[in-house]
């Protein structure tokens, strides 16, 4: 009798132990990641301070961010300062992490916690001699510096990428900030009306002006390829719904190439209206306008009104890059790159690889197509139009001796003063190595302000 009772009690106690083991498994495996990464769990911070954080380097092994040990404490230094500040971001005990320092925090620390809840991260770090991984960017820091300096005292952004891969070579935002001084300058930077903390290249939203005409042309050529041979009679203005859009620089008989070269508002407003709002907006979406643009760091989404919300006037204005249309320089670089790459838009990317402390590649870049805005044929016609615009049009300042350059200028009217100067393009036209987008805020004419910067960047890439 009593023996039976003892066995029952033993069974209950064993069951209680079993429940405890199941619950421990839940905590230590299934909730491990959440508990380890909880902001109040100080373990990661303690470990971080013991680890030699990895470097951020450009594609030619130039250091953009590294930790230097002096007097037992590590100090994070950024040799390119404000030139790459918007990309590297910052690292501060007070302000937290930002930019690539934040996005690649775990990789830089060499801390991994697998989804299955593997808590042996501390051991893994010891194996690597307590050093994190390096992040290798596709960026060319010297080229970045050149672009940054060419902007001079002007505000703006420069983006250059490889059309065939989407690898970003230059991504400048001016004014920038020095991540090394972030703590002492924080209040000033935050209050600055020029918003130096904003990465204009990926997050700045500007009206694209005439550079949008490339998109409008892409739309109409996809729909009516014969437009390539059409002759227009441009009166020097266009009247839509009682409003007159001036176009004094492109008067007379024009074919499509001449219309592009002289940036005819009449022709492209007309073509936009002929294409219709729905197809025009579809084409823009195809180029990534109004869609999330993937990148390792934060991007803003370019904005285009819904087709149903556009009046004829707004359609005409949007077709020439005005109205409520707002784009990021990165997006316009992607537009140029997609045309350059026979209509295949590659996903833009900043990070080439994650490199272990021993030099082994832990994660490598893989080119990925993410847009198909136009066919290869249409892309070919667009290229010829853009070549004409540089060869004997508004984009002459972008031409490089001995190299065929394709491009389009823009002067985007905006409520903040003079027009924003734009240039988008690629070179060499027949075998593109680089696509660019340059915007100079309130710079005026794209041909004189933006095109020369684009030319120097393209020249440098081709020379290499």
């Amino acid at each position: 009798m009593m023996n039976r009772n003892i066995v029952i009690i033993a069974g209950i106690i064993m069951a209680a132990f079993f429940i405890n083991i199941v619950y421990l498994t839940y905590l230590q495996v299934f909730r491990s990641d959440e508990l380890l990464n909880h902001p109040r769990n100080r373990r990661l911070q303690i470990l971080e301070e013991q680890i030699l954080r990895g470097k951020i380097i450009d594609s030619r092994d130039r250091v953009l961010a590294e930790t230097v040990i002096s007097e037992e404490t590590g100090k994070r230094i950024y040799p390119y300062g404000e030139i790459t500040g918007n990309l590297t971001g910052y690292l501060s005990r007070k302000l937290g992490r930002w930019g690539l320092e934040a996005v690649y925090n775990r990789e830089l620390l060499g801390v991994y916690s697998t989804p299955g809840g593997d808590g042996s991260w501390a051991l893994k770090m010891l194996d690597k001699g307590k050093a994190g991984n390096d992040i290798v960017l596709s960026l060319d820091a010297e080229l970045q510096k050149k672009a940054y300096n060419m902007l001079g005292s002007r505000k703006g952004a420069v983006v250059a990428l490889e059309p065939g891969t989407g690898r970003i070579l230059v991504m400048v935002s001016k004014p920038g900030f020095d991540p090394g001084q972030i703590e002492s300058q924080w209040e000033m930077l935050r209050a600055d009306p020029d918003s130096p903390l904003l990465n204009r290249a990926a997050q700045g939203l500007y009206p694209p002006g005439s550079t949008m005409k490339v998109v409008t042309a892409a739309g109409i050529l996809g729909e009516k390829p014969e437009t390539a041979n059409r002759i227009f009679d441009a009166p020097g203005y266009i009247e839509v719904e009682g409003r007159r859009i001036e176009d004094s620089l492109a008067k007379g008989r024009l074919n499509l190439a001449e219309a592009m070269a002289r940036s005819s508002n009449y022709v492209f407003a007309l073509l936009g209206m002929e294409l219709g709002a729905a197809k025009f907006v579809d084409t823009a979406h195809g180029f990534g306008i109004g869609r999330e643009l993937p990148l390792e760091t934060a991007t803003a989404m370019s904005r285009i009104p819904e087709a149903g919300e556009m009046s004829q006037l707004e359609l005409a204005e949007t077709a020439i890059g005005q109205g409520r249309l707002l784009v990021t320089p990165l997006n316009m670089a992607v537009v140029a790159a997609a045309v350059a790459n026979d209509g295949r838009g590659m996903k833009p990317s900043l990070v080439d690889e994650v490199r272990g402390p021993g030099g082994g590649v832990l994660r490598a870049f893989k080119a990925e197509q993410f847009l198909t805005p136009v066919s290869a044929e249409t892309a070919g016609i667009l290229r010829d139009l853009m070549v004409a615009a540089v060869a004997n049009g508004t984009g002459r300042a972008a031409s490089i001796p001995g190299v065929q350059v394709a491009g389009k200028t823009g002067s985007a009217e905006n409520p903040h003063g003079s027009a924003h100067a734009w240039f988008i393009g690629f070179a060499p036209a027949e075998n593109p190595k680089v696509a660019v987008a340059v915007v100079v805020e309130n710079g005026g004419a794209g041909g004189t302000e933006a095109a020369p910067i684009a030319r120097e960047i393209m020249k440098e890439v081709i020379r290499q």
């Binding site: 009798m1 009593m2 023996n3 039976r4 009772n5 003892i6 066995v7 029952i8 009690i9 033993a10 106690i13 064993m14 209680a16 132990f17 429940i19 405890n20 083991i21 619950y23 421990l24 498994t25 905590l27 230590q28 495996v29 909730r31 491990s32 990641d33 959440e34 508990l35 380890l36 909880h38 109040r40 769990n41 100080r42 373990r43 303690i46 916690s113 299955g116 809840g117 593997d118 808590g119 042996s120 991260w121 501390a122 051991l123 010891l126």
Partner: protein, 423 residues
């Protein structure tokens, strides 16, 4: 079970215990953490050597005395003590020497009990003396006790602090075993039905009410919820084993629930405990701090742990006493945590086997009671640090820092092994 007289199993198992202990010491030495590393290789070798020798000496003495008791229990508890010593060295180096001394006091108490208590059945004869002793100890604690860690359950002897409830636990189990064995028949008959629920007759509820009062006194005057839970849990288990009647368990649980509910409304510290248990995240930096640090430790350890000396368990307050299990689980992971729980399961399994093999009802009840006491205490603290149960500050038997707990655990071990020798 046939015992050969020579303790071959025990000796074979000790190879693993010693290996395990030295592995732990060398891990600490390797990571440069704790006293082992601070004191250097020479002292560490000395420390490890003395502990190993101490454990082996106990084994050799048992063999010399031709002690026929269980051969598995001592290696298992030694494993736990070894894990405890390594963890305390790693967590609170300053306390390691004291724990080292207490371990030897515990081993001495173990040997003395095994040697002097040739016939455990004699324990049955003095049951009312136990009650008196328990009451004196308890009253003494209430009157002269000092408070530590929120519970007023220590008596300060100058040289060291002593926790009477640790001794009262054992006395209580011995008393209950003899009392229940005596009154078994009376308790088994006579239940009444109250609205369909079987309720023990009033005349038999007496001991139940006394135990209930006893636990509540602990709860109210010492603020020691954990010990109250362990006392009452063990009591319910023993009364069930002796009578086979669930009605006692239900009625007892009901009474305890009633008392606990009353305490909940009467005392703010009980309310606070419950609130923390239900949602510690509401007050992360305040009252929920301890349990959340424990959860962080467990979660950060993951499946395989950080490795001994490589985690950050010292972020948990009182880590070396109440939270030693969390520290162990952080550094050895789920794998290590389950290993420790399985060792307890083995010990409990052997304990119940001893109870089943005991020749007398008193022996069976005593063995089952001691085993249940150990099991309930382990479950209360492991459940507490994992937030499965409300957290109550009790020690993890054989592992946690704490002299009284270690000594009383070894006395319990000696009693169990004595009963097994007669079986």
């Amino acid at each position: 079970m046939m015992y050969s007289g020579t303790r071959g199993h025990e000796r074979a198992l000790f190879i693993y215990v010693i290996l395990f202990f030295w592995l732990g010491l060398f891990s600490l030495l390797g990571t440069g953490n704790g006293t082992v590393a601070a004191a250097g290789i020479k002292q560490s070798l000395l420390f490890g050597g003395v502990v190993s020798l101490g454990l082996i000496t106990v084994h050799l003495l048992l063999e010399k005395w031709k002690f026929r008791g269980d051969q598995f229990l001592f290696p298992l508890t030694s494993m736990l003590s070894a894990a405890g010593l390594v963890m305390i060295l790693r967590l609170k180096p300053d306390y390691a020497m004291r724990q080292f001394v207490w371990l030897f006091v515990g081993l001495a108490a173990f040997l003395v009990t095994v040697r002097l208590l040739q016939n455990y059945k004699r324990l049955e004869d003095y049951k009312y003396i136990y009650v008196l002793a328990a009451l004196i100890l308890l009253l003494g604690t209430i009157l002269f006790g000092v408070e530590a860690g929120g519970a007023r359950s220590w008596i300060d002897l100058g040289v060291a602090r002593f926790q009477p409830s640790e001794i009262v636990k054992i006395i209580l189990v011995i008393f209950l075993a003899s009392y229940l064995e005596d009154k078994k028949e009376v308790l088994t008959v006579g239940t009444r039905n109250l609205w369909g629920i079987p309720v023990p007759g009033l005349q038999y509820v007496g001991p139940l009410l006394v135990m209930w009062g006893f636990s509540l006194v602990l709860l109210i005057f010492q603020k020691d919820l954990g010990t109250a839970l362990i006392f009452f849990g063990t009591f319910l288990v023993m009364i069930y084993i002796s009578t086979g009647r669930w009605s006692y368990v239900f009625f007892g649980s009901f009474l305890f629930g009633l008392g606990a509910t009353a305490c909940y409304f009467l005392f703010s510290h009980v309310r606070v405990r419950v609130a923390i248990w239900l949602n510690p995240w509401a007050d992360i930096e305040g009252r929920g701090y301890q349990i959340i640090q424990s959860l962080f430790a467990l979660g950060s350890g993951g499946a395989f742990g950080t490795g001994i000396g490589l985690g950050q368990p010292n972020l948990i307050p009182a880590v070396h006493t109440d939270f030693v299990f969390s520290a162990w689980s952080e550094e050895t992971g789920l794998v290590g945590a389950i290993a420790i729980l399985i060792i307890y399961c083995f010990i409990i399994y052997r304990g119940f086997r001893i109870a089943l093999a005991a020749q007398t009802g008193f022996g069976a009840l005593l063995a089952a009671g001691l085993t249940s006491l150990l099991a309930v205490q382990t479950l209360v603290i492991v459940g507490g640090v994992t937030k499965l149960l409300p957290l109550t500050g009790v020690t993890l038997p054989f592992v946690s820092y704490g002299g009284s707990s270690l000594v009383s655990s070894y006395i319990m071990l000696a009693l169990l092994m004595r009963i097994s020798a007669e079986g």
